[in-house]
């Protein structure tokens, strides 16, 4: 019982198909279903995301939005359906999996920086050990990213010595060091004190401007309005509504979307 609306204008018509093929669908979810034991957490998800697109996923807690993006880099395994990332199918093929994971970066709600390594070491760990980049090059690239997220002076500090906002920016830089094609954000600002949310959102806006494909699960509707190409609303494991931001916020189609918007926009 999926109430899809304007999403049907996306990849349906032949014209759209052709343009989709040429503009490169980078993530394709096809009839994806997932269960946690008896609980049906993702119900018949169909979604295609093109290269360079910025998607915001929102919905009440327990709607499956985090599970959805965690399936994309296989932190969770889907039981039914296909997930195709950059042309490679996500399944039990380990080689594909390693490849996919090095192309998809993830930023977590609780940062998950490695506390026993310095900021710089956090950034260079994967390039050195996964892409086998020499240490000097890795350090240079890491410093460049630290400058981009505006905290180059913290390079030799340990994560525990940084504020929440700084830690999250380091986490973003850490993902960027692998030169991903896609960046997934799982409620990146939910664990931050209000005064630090802005600095992280600024980094994300700047990242979006460079043409990075981004999927962001968040409650920050301001970000959705300014940056997103499409906003997806999920509830009870289904995609209820997908639309570009202006339509989504001013002209929601489904009742459930309307209810959700009234709840969060009141704050």
């Amino acid at each position: 019982m999926v109430e899809t609306t304007t999403e049907t204008t996306e990849a349906e018509t032949p014209g759209q198909l052709a343009s989709a093929a040429s503009s490169d669908v980078i993530i394709l979810l096809n009839h994806v279903n997932k269960w946690f034991g008896e609980f049906h957490v993702l119900r018949d998800i169909n979604l295609s995301i093109t290269r360079g697109e910025r998607i915001v996923v929102c919905g009440p807690s327990g709607s499956g939005k985090s599970t959805l993006i965690r399936c994309i880099n296989r932190l969770e395994e889907h039981q039914e359906g296909d997930i195709i990332v950059d042309g490679m199918e996500l399944g039990s093929d380990l080689k594909n999996l390693d490849q996919i994971r090095s192309e998809v970066g993830m930023v977590f709600q609780s940062f998950n920086l490695f506390p026993h390594l310095t900021v710089l070491e956090n950034l260079t760990l994967a390039p050195i050990w996964v892409r086998k980049v020499p240490k000097i090059e890795a350090n240079e690239a890491a410093m460049a990213y630290l400058e981009r997220v505006k905290i180059p002076e913290q390079a030799d500090k340990y994560p525990g010595q940084l504020s929440g906002g700084q830690q999250q920016r380091v986490a973003i830089a850490r993902s960027l060091c692998m030169n991903p094609k896609i960046m997934l954000f799982d409620e990146p600002t939910s664990a931050l004190d209000p005064e630090m949310i802005k600095e992280v959102l600024e980094v994300m806006v700047e990242l979006a401007a460079t043409g990075m494909t981004m999927i962001v699960v968040t409650h920050e509707m301001g970000f959705a309005k300014t940056v997103a190409d499409r906003v997806i609303f999920m509830d009870f494991g289904e995609i209820i509504e997908v639309n570009e931001p202006h339509q989504f916020f001013n002209n929601p189609q489904s009742d459930r979307t309307k209810l959700f918007l009234s709840q969060i926009l009141h704050n």
Binding site: T8, A20, L28, I84, D86, S92, D93, K95, N96
Partner: protein, 400 residues
């Protein structure tokens, strides 16, 4: 609805997914290798053992349990006579001896442990220091040294039989052991036992009734003391009514030795004392850690809502402290049972000494005996941890 057009997929069709990188293939491979290696190892040991047993003319099989064991034991709780007693029976003698000393040690060490643990938290610095010294000395000296010390150093210095220490004329202590009166139940004693069981059940039901009454009417009822009263009165009345069918066999000096009564050999006493005080130290630490783990705010909040100190302890502090105390306490109990096996060092006839040492040496059925003994300990340990898991699940603080 999004299209399911897989023509956009750039990779090869499904069938040529690289075999060795398939997660399922790898998992299967690892598991088969492990299982295979393990199976080969078991087979290898098995064939070696079979061959070696044959070469040495040793037998195998469990039939030996029905053969007579040719030795006696100085302490037994059930009937056993040399010449007719079987190995199987000796095993049970050993098991009962192990459980006998372990259960008394568990009870005593828990009581002493709670006492010392509370002392550790005393506001009096000297008392707390004394308790600390007690705990630290007992924990840092190996248990075996303590057992041997008690056995050789203390119990060997007990008075000779003729100069036994006399406790109210019913118990006697000398270098042959401690002689306590043993109960001799008469014909109608079973009535008293039944009355006791019935009274205990009644006391529990009374508690339930009192609690329900409190929920509905708010009135409190001293169910605990009432319950104790019921148990004592009912059992006592039946006991008296049936003519006090319990006599006591008191040991009496006859010739060079005491006869009658219940004789507890010095090895038993030494083992009991050392097990008790050694584990009481561990218990004290668990109690102390458990009480400290309850945050101060709890006492403050409980005081703020007007609970009296006694009720604060009973309703707020102790239930929460018990959460932290019970797991290490139960693991200490298991250690008591396991450490009772050190009886073999001082000659107390527990299951290791009787079965794993003497019986094994006499009969030669090494594998069977070792397996049975280890199975015994495993059963006890696993039973205890099974119940502890159930307890843990039930009392875990429900969190979101």
């Amino acid at each position: 609805m999004a299209t399911s057009d897989t023509s956009l997929v750039k990779s090869q069709p499904k069938s040529s997914v690289s075999f060795f990188y398939d997660e399922r293939v790898r998992n299967f491979f690892y598991q088969t290798i492990t299982a295979g290696t393990f199976a080969w190892l078991v087979w290898y040991l098995f064939t070696n053992t079979a061959h070696n047993l044959e070469v040495r003319g040793m037998n195998s099989g469990f039939g030996f349990l029905f053969q007579t064991a040719g030795f006696d034991t100085d302490f037994k709780l059930i009937e056993y006579t040399v010449g007719t007693g079987t190995y199987g029976r000796i095993f049970f003698v050993g098991v009962l001896n192990t459980l006998f000393v372990s259960s008394i040690a568990i009870v005593l060490s828990t009581v002493i442990g709670f006492f010392v643990g509370v002392l550790r938290l005393s506001t009096n610095w000297l008392i707390s220091l004394l308790a600390l010294t007690y705990v630290e000395i007992l924990r840092n000296v190996p248990l075996l040294i303590q057992i041997i010390f008690w056995y050789l150093g203390v119990f060997a210095l007990l008075p000779k039989v003729k100069q036994s220490a006399d406790f109210l004329g019913i118990a006697f202590l000398n270098n042959r052991g401690l002689y306590v009166p043993s109960p001799v139940p008469g014909d109608l004693f079973w009535m008293t036992m039944t009355a006791f069981v019935v009274a205990v059940v009644a006391a529990f039901m009374l508690r339930r009734w009192a609690r329900r009454r409190q929920e509905q009417t708010g009135q409190q009822f001293p169910a605990f003391w009432a319950g104790i009263g019921i148990i004592v009165t009912l059992t006592g009345v039946v006991y008296l009514a049936t003519g006090m069918p319990l006599s006591w066999d008191i040991a009496a000096l006859q010739g060079f030795n005491y006869q009658g009564g219940f004789a507890l050999p010095p090895s038993f006493l030494a083992l009991l004392v050392s097990l008790t005080i050694y584990h009481s130290a561990h218990m004290a630490e668990a109690v102390r850690a458990g009480i400290l783990s309850v945050s101060k705010g709890q006492t403050e909040a409980a005081n703020a809502i007007g609970l009296k100190p006694g009720k604060v302890m009973a309703l707020v502090i102790i239930p929460q402290a018990m959460l932290a105390i019970v797991p290490p306490m139960i693991s200490t109990w298991m250690n008591v049972v396991k450490n009772s096996s050190l009886a073999v060092a001082i000659g107390y006839s527990d299951v290791v000494a009787l079965f794993m040492q003497t019986s094994l040496n006499q009969s030669g059925y090494a594998i069977e005996i070792v397996a049975i003994t280890m199975l015994f300990y495993m059963t006890i340990s696993l039973t205890i941890s099974f119940f502890m898991n159930i307890y843990n699940k039930r009392v875990q603080l429900r969190e979101r």
